[in-house]
Subunit: 116 residues, 2 copies
DNA sequence: TGGTAAGATCGACACACGTCGATGTGACTC
DNA sequence: GAGTCACATCGACGTGTGTCGATCTTACCA
């Protein structure tokens, strides 16, 4: 049985994630590609740390990510975009700052797809 | 609190996986690197399908993977090695054939690290 | 209007990775 | 021992990705 959650990104686009559980039955190519795309967003140490920082707080400003991550501003911006495109975090522009928060439902959907 | 499971690979090496949950607190670099390494093994559509085929059966022979995956023998061998190195599957050589089975504990550990 | 500050985008570079033909390595059969 | 089969390893190729300096865009303030 497919496990899907609706996720709303910065641009208000919604999309599905994802996929029967890996352990239940052989995945078809489309489901495998979808799931691999989300996992690729997670499969980077900098993005994992970024996500953990955002998830540990109700809201985090981009400006508070550069120092803990030890990466340049363009690099941090790149990683927030990847995580946001994957639906794992969402950003809200307020004035000059962008505030990020985690989407725990998305993470839960991934756990389910991984046989949860 | 760290979530660890011992995993035994083909070469009898054992290692730990892994890591406080991403959602609990900011990950340090070492934990993030460990988790990213395992997730990288999963973040490929061919390997996800391979794992789902192996996990759906008590045991699968390498020779029964080429056709469903539509990949050459060296490519399949490469992917089984990546999954085995990550502890997600284990292989046993019997005569001319290698038989693979999934390690559900490892997948469960990843789910926990993902905030399960 | 001009200046500054936060963040996104661009361009370039180095490196990692998926893929497959060719070849190597054991194991089985005759 | 010769031949064959299953699988691993090697080498090479094209592509994808993380990184950062430079630049663009937008918002705020004097």
């Amino acid at each position: 049985m497919p496990v899907k959650t609706k996720v709303k990104a910065l641009d208000e686009r919604t999309y599905d994630v994802c996929c029967p559980a890996v352990t239940a039955a052989p995945l078809d190519e489309a489901d495998a590609t979808d799931l691999a795309r989300v996992l690729s967003a997670l499969a980077d140490p900098v993005r994992l740390r970024l996500l953990s920082i955002v998830a540990s707080s109700p809201e985090v400003c981009s400006c508070d990510l550069e120092n803990p991550l030890g990466k340049s501003q363009p690099t941090v911006s790149h990683h927030t975009k990847v995580l946001a495109d994957a639906g794992l975090i969402s950003g809200e522009r307020r004035g000059k700052w962008t505030w990020w928060h985690a989407n725990p439902d998305r993470l839960a959907a991934i756990r389910t797809a991984l046989g949860g």
